[in-house]
């Protein structure tokens, strides 16, 4: 080992003395010697964009580039720093890449905020030692041989990004040190996604890691500023998927985001900031993003709408839909544009979705059941509204009817349960729930009516009181007359 080092140094000295000319020294003595040595950094640096732009070794490593003498060229007192370590690496890059003036000297159009973004990112803030960032510029961009991003040779070229990121992110042992709960199967899932498959086939336009997570500014997904935070995610996906010209070659629609924003889910998520509402990834998956298969839609929707999905799966529709390749929930409810379901979907009228397959002639049984269910739920709603009116009326009249008001909740609940039960597509089950609502609604209505009757009875009572007062007033009047007459009588008689 020691011998090898000596050999190298001797060779270096010999080469240096050989190449030096008596007329003076070449512009960059570092490269002269190192290239002659054929070491990796100097070889790679030949095709480095920085080399082409006139950046010298000494610009990053310090020292005196013009000095022939090795001692002098790599003199620490002259600013030679050797191989930068830790955070110093990124700081060396930021010397130029964080300085607009210097970048202008190189006629570069690259923005200058990367270093700051990196410092603020999850990669810049996490550290096991507390001394240095996890990731330096060179971690992704390499040190020598850096080429432009658009160059297929670059490690951050779209087709290479996945490999670059997964160097760490697929390494369970490595990730454990920083974020033990973060999974390391992103690559595996990604390769199953439409994005991943196209990327593997060499399509640089499909999404890779950085398309969604960002590059220098990557934040944890739980950070509200993150591009993959639930409320930001639809916008992130839409960045490509709503761009008609970008998506042109893929032949898929670009209105999903528009539809989603107006849907019940989109409004809940984007306007009400209800994080329980699904963003794109809840249905399509994130790294394994792909349209769910026809037969698994009820499972996807069922991850939240469990009861409906269970009922559907055990209903006769499951088999019928699968056979006809009908996308389960979507057939009736739509997908991105889903709006809150109303009772209008049900029944055998023109606007009801049931009538798309069922008619009096074709599949008539379903046609009948749909009609019955609709009329049942309609009458339940009517009964509920009637009971509600009676209760409100009684309340307006100042009657104590909180018991009935409380029971009214059960009617509503029965109606909501019935709406869920529709998905069993079984008249018996549906009737059972509706009957519960009917019974309660009738009781509430009766109580309301009783309270109103009671009110009129009280009014009658007040009428009686008024009558009493009137009688008292009249008799009082007569009494006064009598007293006065008798007084006059007495006076005259005296």
């Amino acid at each position: 080992m020691k011998g090898r080092t000596w050999q190298a140094i001797v060779a270096l000295v010999v080469i240096c003395s050989l190449t030096s000319t008596p007329f003076g020294v070449a512009a960059d003595q570092c490269r002269t010697c190192h290239e002659a040595l054929g070491d990796k950094p100097s070889t790679l640096f030949k095709r480095d964009i920085h080399s082409q732009k006139g950046v010298s070794c000494a610009d990053c490593h310090g020292g005196v580039a013009s000095a022939e003498d090795m001692e002098r060229a790599m003199d620490k007192s002259k600013g030679f720093i050797g191989v930068p370590k830790g955070d110093a690496v990124s700081e060396v890059c930021a010397k130029c890449h964080g300085d607009a003036k210097r970048m202008a000297q190189f006629r570069s159009m690259i923005p200058i905020g990367q270093f700051k973004a990196l410092q603020a990112s999850v990669h810049g803030r996490l550290s096991t030692t507390g001394k240095e960032r996890i990731v330096q510029c060179t971690t992704c961009h390499n040190a020598h041989g850096i080429v432009q991003v658009a160059d297929p040779a670059s490690p951050v070229y779209p087709l290479n990004v996945v490999k670059t990121c997964t160097k760490c992110h697929a390494d369970a042992a490595f990730m454990q040190k920083y974020n033990p709960s973060l999974s390391v199967d992103q690559l595996e899932k990604y390769r199953t996604s439409v994005h991943g498959m196209r990327n593997a086939k060499g399509d640089p336009k499909t999404a890779e890691c950085a398309s969604c997570h960002g590059s220098h500014e990557i934040l944890p997904s739980a950070d509200v500023r993150s591009r993959v935070y639930p409320t930001n995610l639809p916008g992130t996906c839409a960045h490509c998927h709503a761009d008609a010209s970008y998506m042109k070659t893929y032949g898929i629609p670009t209105d999903q985001f528009e539809k989603f924003s107006k849907s019940v889910h989109g409004v809940a998520l984007l306007e009400k900031h209800d994080l329980g509402a699904p963003a794109c990834n809840k249905c399509h998956g994130n790294h394994g993003a792909t349209p769910p298969g026809v037969e698994s839609i009820s499972k996807v929707c069922g991850s939240c709408h469990a009861l409906n999905a269970d009922l559907f799966s055990s209903s006769p529709h499951k088999k019928a839909f699968d056979e006809r390749k009908l996308p389960e929930c979507e057939t009736c409810h739509g997908k991105h544009e889903i709006i809150a379901a109303t009772d209008k979907l049900l029944g055998n009228s023109q606007e009801a979705v049931c009538s798309r397959c069922h008619s009096e002639r074709e599949r008539a049984k379903g046609y009948q059941v749909a009609g019955t269910m609709r009329s049942l739920i309609d009458s339940l709603e009517l009964l509920e509204r009637k009971a509600q009116l009676l209760v409100s009326d009684a309340e307006q009249k100042g009657m104590e009817i909180s018991e009935a008001r409380f029971k009214l909740r059960d009617v509503r609940q029965a109606r909501l349960e019935a709406r869920t039960k529709v998905h069993s597509f079984n008249e018996g089950q549906f009737r059972e729930v509706v009957a519960k609502g009917f019974a309660t609604a009738l009781v509430v209505g009766e109580e309301g009516q009783q309270a109103i009757d009671e009110y009129y009875f009280r009014r009658l009572g007040l009428g009686v009181a008024t009558l009493i007062i009137t009688i008292v007033a009249i008799s009082l009047y007569m009494f006064i007359r009598r007293i006065e007459r008798s007084a006059v009588h007495k006076q005259t008689s005296i």
């Binding site: 209800d274 329980g276 008001r405 409380f406 609940q413 869920t420 009493i468 009494f479 009598r482």
Partner: protein, 151 residues
């Protein structure tokens, strides 16, 4: 003016009048006093805003059970865990206002309408509910259990 009969009828008339007047006055007093007393009788819901409700004896509440208690105009679910701890939450599901119930078999608070589930801290853990259930305070005084608004 003369004639005893005239005097007699005059007298009976006056007596009649006295009865009417006296009876009327009494009826009138009754018609004033009755509403007055009815007004003074504390109403079923004693206050504008119910701040606490008496549930019953601690001994009557089974372990590993949930009961719906009326709190003003809203239902509250009182839970007793298997180790005897008492907790109370608003029983109104945060999704679409159905009334939730305790499912012994699942060990969760469950909403029948859309299968929403909440854990023993009232946190929404599955299904469509967007928010946790509001918590109420449970106070045990001697043998009696009370539920009150969380201050």
């Amino acid at each position: 003016m003369d004639g005893a009969g005239n005097m007699q009828s005059e007298k009976s008339k006056r007596d009649f009048l006295k009865y009417v007047l006296g009876g009327g006055l009494m009826a009138w007093v009754a018609s004033v006093v009755y509403p007055l007393f009815a007004y003074l009788k504390p109403p079923k819901q004693a206050e504008v805003e119910v701040s606490s409700v008496k549930v019953g004896k601690l001994a009557t509440i089974e372990k590993d059970s949930g009961t719906i208690v009326r709190f003003g105009n809203k239902p509250v679910i009182l839970l007793r865990t298997s180790n005897g701890e008492l907790r109370a939450f608003s029983a109104t599901c945060t999704h679409l206002d159905c009334t939730v119930q305790y499912r012994k078999d699942l060990g969760v608070i469950w909403c029948a309408c859309h299968n929403g589930k909440y854990d023993f801290n009232g946190k929404n853990i599955a299904g469509p509910p967007p928010r946790p259930l509001d918590e109420f305070r449970v106070v045990v005084q001697g043998e009696e259990v009370f539920i009150s608004k969380n201050a």
